[in-house]
């Protein structure tokens, strides 16, 4: 078990090196003039040359790459040409906001999707089943950014019960930073008022992100449960007189979870990559907005940095998912 985890963690390193190389090559093959954009229209050739020297862009590509790769090892992720700040510091500033949003959306999707999938499978072809299946069809096709706008119209403009956008009101001071997650920090500080504000701001973007994964997880869980319910051992358990609740939660749930886990894992990267859209709608100060701004100014170091962070989180999630398979199914436990 420990050996398996260590081996998987070590395997992440060559993947990350490959990723930096690939991204570096893509970034250099593309046309674009980040320094010219950052220096502005009135820049003198001297200023541009100086900027290029400062950001290490005057070196040949292999040397640039080598400098970057060795820099990564001691936490130097390059400089942003646009913000003129180290990329690593920028990412540390924006990462908690994105993680808080993604984790909230993920929790909504999993905690609602799995029970709903079970319920609709058990009461198959009932009213709830038809209702939820229609919602799921629509939920998968619904663009996150459009759903976000609709939620803003409904809850912020018409009903006026939730804030329109942002992560925390500008006039208020957010709770002291411990984890960087405002909701958790507020709870740690014991500040109930701050917690309510943070949660109110988190609600709409999290729901906008959660709907599509919720719908997919529910559909997957429903299909898997129906398949498991038709197995012979379920009939045997029924014949033995076990209660429906025991059969459902002890035997069916675990077996149906295995195939649903794969989908859940895939959605982690979907959520992380898609924060760009929801953060744009809700002006959520996270990695997505940071990446968008960097992309629009063709500032490649932050783009590579953000991509690496997302890739690391994705690879770690895949590892956790693989370990979870073992929790639900002893047959695939790793020795």
């Amino acid at each position: 078990m420990l050996f398996f985890v260590l081996r998987r963690l070590l395997l992440i390193i060559p993947i990350l090196i490959g990723l930096t190389l690939l991204l570096f090559v893509i970034a250099r093959l593309l046309p674009g003039d980040p320094v010219g954009l950052a220096a502005g229209p009135n820049a003198t050739p001297e200023l541009i040359a100086q900027l290029k020297r400062q950001f290490n862009l005057d070196q040949p590509l292999p040397i640039q790459y080598w400098t970057y790769l060795t820099g990564l090892l001691h936490g130097d992720w390059g400089m942003s040409v646009f913000t003129r700040r180290p990329v690593f510091e920028d990412i540390l500033t924006y990462l908690p906001a994105t993680l808080e949003l993604v984790i909230a959306a993920f929790l909504i999707a999993v905690l609602a999707g799995i029970p709903l999938g079970l319920l609709t499978a058990v009461y198959r072809n009932g009213i709830l089943d038809y209702l939820m299946r229609s919602v799921a069809l629509g939920g998968i096709a619904m663009p996150r950014f459009f759903l976000g706008l609709l939620l803003q119209i409904a809850f912020a403009a018409w009903l006026d019960i939730l804030p329109l956008s942002g992560r925390y009101p500008l006039i208020e001071t957010p709770p002291d930073t411990v984890t960087g997650f405002y909701t958790i920090d507020a709870l740690i500080a014991g500040d109930w008022y701050a917690f309510q504000i943070a949660l109110a701001h988190l609600a709409l973007p999290a729901i906008a992100m959660a709907l599509s994964p919720l719908a997919t997880i529910m559909r997957m869980m429903r299909a898997a449960t129906i398949e498991v319910l038709q197995q012979d051992y379920v009939m045997t358990e029924r014949a033995l007189g076990l209660s429906s609740r025991l059969i459902l939660f002890k035997y069916v749930l675990k077996n149906a979870m295995t195939s649903t886990l794969t989908v859940i894992g895939l959605y982690v990267s979907w959520l992380l990559g898609g924060t760009v859209l929801v953060e744009t709608v809700f002006d959520w100060p996270g990695l997505g907005l940071y990446a968008t701004q960097a992309i629009l100014t063709q500032d490649f170091m932050p783009v590579i940095g953000v991509t690496l962070v997302i890739a690391i989180i994705y690879l770690l999630t895949m590892l956790i998912i693989d370990l979870l398979y073992g929790v639900f199914n002893p047959k695939v436990r790793y020795a």
Partner: protein, 299 residues
């Protein structure tokens, strides 16, 4: 002169194929959701094809403005209202269907062609070619595709073609993986061995013997993907990358409406609903095709 025996053989062969198709369509018709999907897709394609004749204000699609009629709510004159420049939203949304459908379909076609070529070569030859191609594919699959597509599209500059290239770049690896698996499954079968024994070269074996046998999974994946390709095109437009105004594109229209949001909701609802309906239509059609073509997924 020989007697003409083979004709009868050919005819039977064709009628069997026709029977397969009619049976497939019969199964497809059994699901009313699939039929709704098919109907919506046909309507969308017709709208896109005849957009120049449907659009009531073609000059506004080209970028003309009518500031006297800004922010008109939906009415008999302007079905979907007008936007900040007084342009008729109905005209813009109808014209936008061309960009969205064209780019969505192109992305999937390019991804299928590139992915099939890479996956088929990797799967057929194996060894170090497979190693290199699949490591590259895996790396691309680790990168969040939306961010990569945004970065490439921004660097290439505005324009429909650049956007299609950028999204296709992130889209083919999935097909490469799929096709590689299918080719590996097929290449040891008896009929391939027979073809090789007859002296067919690798290109002929791949194109004439293996690929026709793995069309179903590719078609299923591709038809499910068109909706998401349209969604990705709209996403790029929404974050302000890809197509630039005045070219009407649903995502760009929606992004333009964001600044005038709660008050002038119709400027957002019309393009948003268009994206939603297009994605839904292709998803329903794809689900239907999967149920017909993939015997394992049928319930």
């Amino acid at each position: 002169m020989t007697t003409e025996v083979p004709v009868a053989h050919l005819k039977r062969n064709q009628s069997a194929r026709l029977e397969n198709w009619s049976r497939a369509f019969y199964r497809f018709r059994q699901s009313w959701l699939s039929m709704i999907g098919l109907a919506l897709v046909v309507v969308l394609i017709l709208i896109a094809a005849f957009a120049p004749f449907i659009v009531p204000h073609p000059e506004q699609v080209q970028g003309a403005t009518n500031t006297a009629a800004r922010f008109q709510p939906p009415s008999a004159d302007a079905w979907f209202g007008t936007n900040a420049l007084g342009q008729d939203m109905f005209s813009l949304v109808v014209a936008g269907s061309q960009v969205s459908l064209f780019s969505g379909l192109s992305v999937v076609v390019i991804a299928v062609v590139v992915g099939t070529a890479v996956g088929a070569v990797a799967g057929y030859f194996g060894g170090w070619i497979d190693e290199i191609l699949m490591r590259l594919t895996d790396l691309l699959l680790t990168i969040p595709s939306l961010i990569l597509a945004m970065a490439v599209a921004a660097a290439l500059g505005a324009g429909v073609l650049n956007m299609i290239i950028a999204i296709s770049l992130t889209w083919w690896p999935v097909y490469a993986r799929l096709v590689r698996g299918e080719v590996i499954g097929k290449k040891e079968e008896q009929f391939i061995v027979a073809a090789r024994a007859l002296g067919a070269n690798w290109l002929r074996i791949l194109c004439r013997h293996i690929l026709p046998n793995i069309v179903s999974p590719i078609v299923i994946k591709a038809s499910l993907d068109v909706g998401f390709a349209i969604l990705t095109v709209a996403s790029l437009g929404f974050v302000g990358i890809g197509v630039k105004p005045p070219t009407p594109e649903w995502g760009t229209l929606l992004s333009g409406a964001r600044s005038y949001m709660p008050g002038y909701w119709w400027t957002a609802v019309a393009p948003g609903m268009a994206i939603f309906i297009a994605v839904l239509a292709f998803n329903l059609l794809g689900d239907g095709l999967r149920d017909v073509l993939d015997p394992k997924a049928r319930r």
